[in-house]
């Protein structure tokens, strides 16, 4: 037996010993890993298709435009990285645009509105869009997505209602709600 063979023989014996005495491992965090991987896969898919798909490219432009508007209006507000299927992003984009228009109007033209209301609304909008997109990523079921969207709309309305000095701006909220409801109906 050569020296190398002797070494390999000893390694094999010690490996058999290690297999016998190695204690079991803790369970891997599989669910959390799968979830993070799914987000990464969506992002990678979007990035790959953004260069070839004109719809996605337009959405990327829309996202950049909205983001720039938010930056200008409220330096501390961030729309953040939004992910999800293209139609969810379209809904989020339209909803974001509607709320931005409403917030700008409220901030600039209503004499009783504090100037900080606009940025605060954008921060809430940011949270809402992020939560919506995260919810959507957790499920591929369109019905569930729409139900989730409606729930989010309700909570957004409630949140905006509380912060918009009682019900003085109820009509703006109703308009926004109607607009989004129509959009949901159109999407089926």
């Amino acid at each position: 037996m050569t020296l190398d063979q002797n070494m390999i023989h000893q390694i094999e014996r010690n490996e058999a010993w290690l297999d016998a005495v190695m204690p079991p491992d803790p369970a891997a965090p599989a669910e959390r890993t799968r979830f993070r991987v799914r987000i990464e896969v969506n992002q990678a898919w979007l990035e790959q298709n953004a260069t070839t798909d004109p719809t996605t490219t337009s959405l990327e432009q829309l996202k950049r435009t909205l983001h720039a508007e938010c930056e200008q209006l409220a330096p501390t507000a961030r729309l953040g990285a939004r992910r999800g299927s293209w139609w969810v992003r379209r809904i989020a984009g339209v909803a974001a645009a509607a709320v931005i228009v409403w917030a700008v109007g409220l901030t600039l033209f209503h004499p009783q509105t504090r100037l900080t209301d606009g940025p605060a609304t954008l921060v809430r909008l940011d949270d809402w869009v992020d939560a919506l997109v995260l919810d959507t990523q957790e499920s591929n079921d369109e019905a569930a997505d729409l139900a989730s969207l409606e729930d989010r709309l309700d909570s957004l309305e409630a949140s905006l209602g509380e912060n918009a000095a009682e019900s003085r701006f109820g009509w703006e909220l109703d308009d926004l709600g109607d607009e989004l409801e129509a959009l949901l109906t159109e999407l089926g």
Binding site: N14, L18, A30, T33, V37, Q48
Partner: protein, 204 residues
């Protein structure tokens, strides 16, 4: 282990070949990545846990491994060596983490000692987080003891031993992954295993 697909023969199930899962993953099919996590996640996690010595870092690194798989898989060419590829990513990330901990050993291990220059920084000897209180005391002792014994090896010895234990890689593949000559990998395994056995068997 692995996924199954419906065979052409009604009622008979057979494993979907890894190559087919990889091909689906390369088209960004999220289901394919779930299957890869199921197939390799536990073993990669075991390897990382033994390498870095604490559960939190191992969990963090496990996610990093699969995120890197997502990013680099489109450029991967499958030639039947996927396991070596994924463990190589895991080994590189674990090595980086150990190196970083060595450069800034600000975290003190549970034993109260700071990291040493041989890759034993942040070694969480006790790490009892995953041991159920219901487990027999002897088993808890065994887990603590193995963690502590592995912590006394050099990072390179630990890497070759744990890679062999958790993956199905040959010494030649491990040497390639560690970018060392085959003789060096064998010597590290020989020396490390002998040391590990001596430590374990000399314990009261």
């Amino acid at each position: 282990m692995g996924t199954v697909i419906q065979s052409e023969v009604v009622g008979e199930l057979k494993p979907e070949p890894l190559a087919a899962i990889i091909e689906r993953a390369q088209r960004f099919d999220p289901g394919a990545f779930d299957e890869l996590v199921d197939m390799f996640g536990q073993r990669v996690f075991g390897f990382l846990h033994r390498m870095v010595g604490n559960r939190e870092d191992a969990e963090d690194l496990l996610q990093e491994v699969f995120l890197r798989v997502v990013r680099t898989l489109p450029r991967y060419t499958h030639q039947g060596r996927f396991e070596g590829w994924i463990f190589r990513i895991a080994a590189n990330l674990a090595r980086d983490r150990i190196r970083r901990a060595r450069r800034s050993p600000t975290i003190i291990s549970m034993s109260g000692e700071q990291g040493d220059p041989d890759g034993r920084a942040n070694w969480d000897c006790a790490d009892p987080s995953h041991i159920s209180p219901d487990q027999p005391a002897i088993q808890r002792e065994q887990v603590d003891h193995m963690q502590a014994a592995l912590g006394q090896l050099s990072a390179a010895e630990r890497e070759v031993i744990t890679l062999r234990h958790y993956s199905a890689l040959s010494f030649a593949e491990i040497a390639e992954a560690m970018e060392t000559p085959l003789g060096t990998a064998l010597a590290r395994a020989h020396r490390g295993l002998a040391k590990l056995r001596r430590i374990m068997e000399s314990a009261p």
